[in-house]
Every structure is written in C-alpha cells, then in structure tokens.
C-alpha cells in the first residue's frame, strides 16, 4: 500500500525529492516556498545522507546545482519568482552544458518584488527561455499536491532521459494548500549511469569536460542544432495534458495549474446551465499540447484561455488554433485569484453576449 498523507504542496514536493533519489538540494529562502528547504533541513538528517545546503543566494544555488549535476548526481533547487529570475543565467549555462536537474518555481505575483500570493506571470520566462540564447526547459505544471509529488519523480526522469533542465512551474496556492497525497516508495540513488559526468578521469577514458563555451561559431551552431533536435524529440514524445468533458464540447476552456482547478468548476457551472463547456489542462507547458488544442478547436464555437497573468499561454493557444476558432482571454494579476463565477460571467460576456440561452 502506498503511503497516504495530508501534506502541504511544498512539503509533498520536498518528501518526493527524498524518495526520488535526489542526491543534492541547494536552496535559498523565499516565500511562498521556504517550506521545501525547511522540510529537507529537518527530515533529511534523520534518514539519508542526501546533501541539503542553504546557499547564500539563488545565484549560488543554481551554480551549485550545475556543479553537482555535472558531477553526475540528481540535483534540485526550488525558489519563487524573484529568485528564479536570479537563476536565469545559470539555467542558460545548464541547458547549454546539457546537465539534468530539477528547478521548481512556486510562482508568486510580480513584476519586481511583487507579492507573495499565487500567480502565473512566469509562464513566458519558464517556457520561452528566460535566460540568454536558444534553449528550452521541460516545464511541468502541477495543479494539485499529488502532482507536486509526482512531478518531482517525472521531472528527474525527463531530466535524465534528455540531459536537460526541468522546471516544475507551480504557484503559491498549490505550494501552500494541504491535500491528501499518495507518496511513491523510496527509489534508489544513482539509478542512472552518467559516463559523461566529471567524477575524476579514470585511466581508461578521456577526460570529461562540462562546458557551454564553443568559441568557433560553426561548433556553437552544431551544439545549437543538436539542442534543437533534442527539443523536437521532446515535443514529439513527451506532451502531457488532461481533458475534462471535451467529447461534446462547444466552448473550450484552456488553463493550467491553479487556474485549471478553478476552470473545472467553471465547466460544472456551464454544464448545469446547459452550456457544453470543456477544459484542456496542459500538464507539460513545454512541450505544449498544440495538437490536441488544434484538433478540438476545429469543432468548437469559441475558446477561453484563463490564466493568473495578463495573457501569456494564450499566445501558444492561438498558435495552436491558427484562427480556426475565436480565442479569448480572461485573467487576474498580482496574486488575485478569480472565482469560478467571475470566470463564467466573463465567458458569457465574451461568447454569449447576453443572448438568451
């Protein structure tokens, strides 16, 4: 029987890190995710020799991840929006050097120091690069405490499979809320062989170099082409999404993370009123579920994208839809969470224009 516990999202994620065989965690306190560092600092010494270190900054954290991941170990850090901004340089280097690791952003309201309430304003930063150069993170968007745990395991699997940094893009609500969570059993450490890692040059092999520097432009272009080929593979193989009531859908909602939870309720409200609402929830934000959204868009009267930002993912939805249906957006910013009723009202305003049902 799997262990079932009532846990905060951040704590479930921390426990999952231990169970996923994470070798090293480097972090820096920031609300609303400090429970991860606290949980690991408290729990790890009781049962494991996993490295847990509070760094002097997020810049140091991400570079410690670089070192530990380059040494072939499962490494992870967590932060929230302003801290994730500080990590962008490191993420660009990690993506270029192709180091597998897990970075968690418990998104809060911005820009700037912003607020500590949940938001989704970091979608662009997470999915479109964030740091300099052409690179992609694999981005997972949990919408429950259960997924906060499960995405840690999945994230490490993706990271190791593709030698690519993976980001879990959560938010302050998913991080702070308590829910029932089924915890997976402890996995062994060092499951994945990493012959490329800097573990000391054994006599029978060439030296291993971890670098993102390729001074000859033609060499650098080759690296870029290889990375792009990898991202293409990821787009072909790893798209994940969840759909609710899309078989007979007439109006489609698209939302991820916390917004998707609220939109499930919006679907219910609509259905009670006889409006065939349905929902697609992207679980991977990169790779984005373009195909399913494109195919559903061919048979709907309209699409409403809902986010806790000014409209970021909606650009990807429009790219997927390519004009096949009208795509509207509704969002709140700065840490404000809309109610299902508020979203439904805006859906009515956008698509039904007060017409009698």
């Amino acid at each position: 029987m799997p262990e079932v516990r009532l846990m905060k999202g951040n704590e479930a994620l921390a426990e999952a890190a231990i169970r996923a065989g994470c070798d090293a965690y480097f972090g820096y306190p920031i609300t609303p995710q400090s429970e991860v560092l606290e949980y690991l600092s408290r729990e790890v010494p009781k049962k494991s020799n996993m490295v847990v270190l509070q760094a002097e900054s997020e810049i140091a954290s991400i570079n410690m991840i670089y070192g530990a991941a380059g040494a072939g170990k499962r490494a992870m850090t967590t932060s929230s929006s302003p801290g994730i901004s500080l990590m962008q340089e490191g993420l660009s280097y990690i993506a270029s050097a192709e180091l597998p690791c897990l970075v968690v952003n418990v998104n809060r309201g911005g820009p700037g120091l912003g607020t500590i309430q949940p938001a989704q304003g970091d979608y662009f930063q997470a999915t479109k690069g964030g740091g300099h150069g052409d690179y992609k993170l694999i981005v997972l968007a949990p919408s429950s405490v259960q997924e906060m745990a499960d995405h840690v395991r999945l994230g490490f699997e993706f990271a190791d499979k593709y030698r690519n940094p993976v980001m879990i893009l959560s938010d302050g609500a998913i991080g702070q809320m308590m829910e029932k969570v089924e915890l997976f059993d402890q996995l062994p450490r060092d499951m994945v062989k990493k012959p490329w890692a800097t573990t000391g040059k054994a006599k029978n092999r060439e030296r291993n170099i971890i670098t993102s520097l390729h001074i000859d432009p033609y060499d650098m272009e080759k690296i870029n082409l290889r990375l792009q080929e990898k991202y293409k593979q990821i787009m072909e193989n790893e798209v994940r999404y969840q759909s609710f009531q899309i078989d007979d859908v007439e109006y489609l909602l698209v939302a991820y993370g916390l917004s998707a939870r609220i939109c499930q309720k919006v679907v219910e409200i609509g259905r009670e009123k006889g409006i065939k609402l349905g929902l697609i929830r992207p679980i991977t934000l990169f790779p984005f579920p373009w195909n399913i959204i494109r195919s559903v868009s061919e048979r709907v009267k309209g699409i409403l994208d809902v986010e806790l930002n000014s409209g970021q993912m909606v650009e990807d939805v429009r790219l997927a839809v390519e004009g096949r249906a009208q795509v509207k957006f509704y969002g709140r910013m700065g840490g404000v969470i809309p109610s299902p009723e508020e979203i439904f009202e805006n859906f009515e305003k956008e698509f039904l224009k007060g017409e009698a049902l």
């Binding site: 480097f26 490295v51 002097e56 670089y66 070192g67 530990a68 490494a75 000391g200």
Partner: protein, 270 residues
C-alpha cells in the same frame, strides 16, 4: 648565415630522433597536462601556474580523483590544458560550482582556478561564502591586476594610479574605489584554513607556489577546509609591456602592495 656554417650544421646532422633518446631525457612532460600549445600570450604566468598545479596532481597520483573548475577570463580554456575532468563555470561562480561538486563527491580533490575579475568582482559573494563555509576545496586565485580576456580593463585589484583601458588616466580611488586585497579579506574567516600569496615570476617563487599548492591538496586530503592560494601574476599584453618588463612591474609595483607569503597558516602547524 655563411655557407660554411650551414655546411657544419648539415655535417653534424642533428635529427630529433638522435637527440630524443632515453639516455638524454632528464625531464618528462607533465602527464596531467595535455600535449597541446597553450593560447596564453608570451610571458604570461598562467602557463606556469597551470603547470605547477598539474605537477602536484601528477606527483600525488590524484589525476583520477581531481576535478577542476575553470572560470570566465583568460583561463576559461584551462580545461583544454589540464588533463583531468573539469567543469567550466559561469563568470564568478566557480566556487559555487566547486561547492556543488565537492558536496556530492567528498572523496575527490576539487579546485577552482579563477582570475581577479572573476573571483574578486563579480564572484565576491560566492568567494566569501565558500570560504566562510569552510568548503574542503582549493581556490587558486590568479591576480594580475587587470581584466585580461576582455583586453585590459580595470580589475578590482588594479593598483592606484595604474593605467587600464577603463582607467586611462590611472585608477583614481576617489572615483573608482580602492584595489581590493581579497586574500586579506577572507583570511580572518573561520572557514579559511590556509591562505597564502605566492608568485611565479622566477624559479624560486615558482617552487614556493608549487609547495603551497601541494600543501593545499594535502590539507584537502585531511578534510581541513578551505585553502586559498593567490598567485600574483603578470599580463604583458594588456600592460603593454614585454614579458621581462612585466615581471619587473610585478616585483616593483605589485609585490609592495600584494606582499608575498602566508597570510593564514593552520594553527596546529604554526
């Protein structure tokens, strides 16, 4: 060259394979260095510094247990020359990267190799905290008082009055701040086990610097904590000097401000 001289040389017929015979060889290439030409400018201290570190690695027999971290700066390509596993860090972050490596591979020897811009400007935070945590690593700090790779801008260690491309009228501390003695700054921190300032400008100093590197690796083996070896070096190209002039500048200008010698030695050995 006269015809006669040419003839003599031909008669003597010095062929490489005749000279390079076992009984003539008194000195080997350092095995832990790769067999390639370095990109460093003529007279630059980097080559010698690389060499003494790798000689120590050879002599201690730890090539398979040593992981180096290269910085951003002239020695960004250190991994092309050091025949060991290496990681190339972002600018200033080498000691954080080294921390990450050492924490997960505590039985390996880990060192970072950093210049003054990298370690004492953009990476000051990482440097201070890595030292203060007493990470069991070696930081080799090459101080030549100038940004070399970007061609001669003012460094945190540039002397007062010293001319660089961004202090073309000489460094004026009232505007540009004072040269930073970072080794003295970190030495009092409890995590610092051994802090020393060395040079590679002449044979005697090279031997002393090598000894400091060797001690540092020995201390690391004994889990003693952080060792910091500053090497006061030169930059003939960006100082616009010949190698000989640059070494003279090192002795006459840099040594008075950055005096050589141990800054902190282990208490139990004092």
């Amino acid at each position: 060259m006269s015809e006669n001289t040419q003839l003599e040389i031909e008669e003597q017929n010095f062929l490489e394979e005749d000279i390079c015979v076992k009984e003539n060889l008194v000195f080997d290439r350092t095995q832990a260095l790769t067999d390639v030409e370095m990109h460093y400018c003529p007279g630059c201290g980097h080559g010698v510094a690389h060499r003494i570190i790798m000689e120590v690695v050879d002599e201690m027999g730890i090539q398979d247990k040593t992981i180096g971290v290269a910085p951003v700066g002239c020695s960004v390509f250190a991994y092309n020359y050091m025949n060991i596993d290496m990681q190339e860090a972002a600018h200033g972050r080498a000691s954080a990267v080294a921390t990450g490596i050492k924490r997960v591979l505590p039985d390996k020897f880990v060192f970072s190799y950093q210049g003054d811009g990298d370690l004492a400007a953009i990476g000051t935070g990482e440097t201070v905290h890595t030292v203060n945590r007493g990470e069991n690593i070696l930081i080799v700090f090459i101080n030549n008082a100038v940004y070399g790779m970007t061609s001669g801008q003012m460094a945190p260690t540039t002397l007062e009055g010293m001319v660089t491309t961004t202090s073309p009228y000489g460094r004026d501390p009232k505007i540009m701040g004072y040269p930073l003695k970072i080794a003295d700054l970190i030495a009092p921190l409890p995590g610092a086990y051994y802090v020393t300032r060395q040079a590679v400008n002449n044979a005697g100093n090279v031997r002393k610097a090598k000894k400091a590197i060797q001690k540092s690796f020995e201390y690391q083996k004994l889990n003693k904590g952080l060792c910091f070896v500053e090497i006061v070096s030169n930059c003939p190209s960006n100082w616009k000097m010949t190698p000989v002039e640059s070494n003279k500048f090192v002795e006459e200008k840099l040594f008075p401000f950055y005096p050589l010698g141990d800054i902190k030695v282990p208490k139990e050995i004092k």
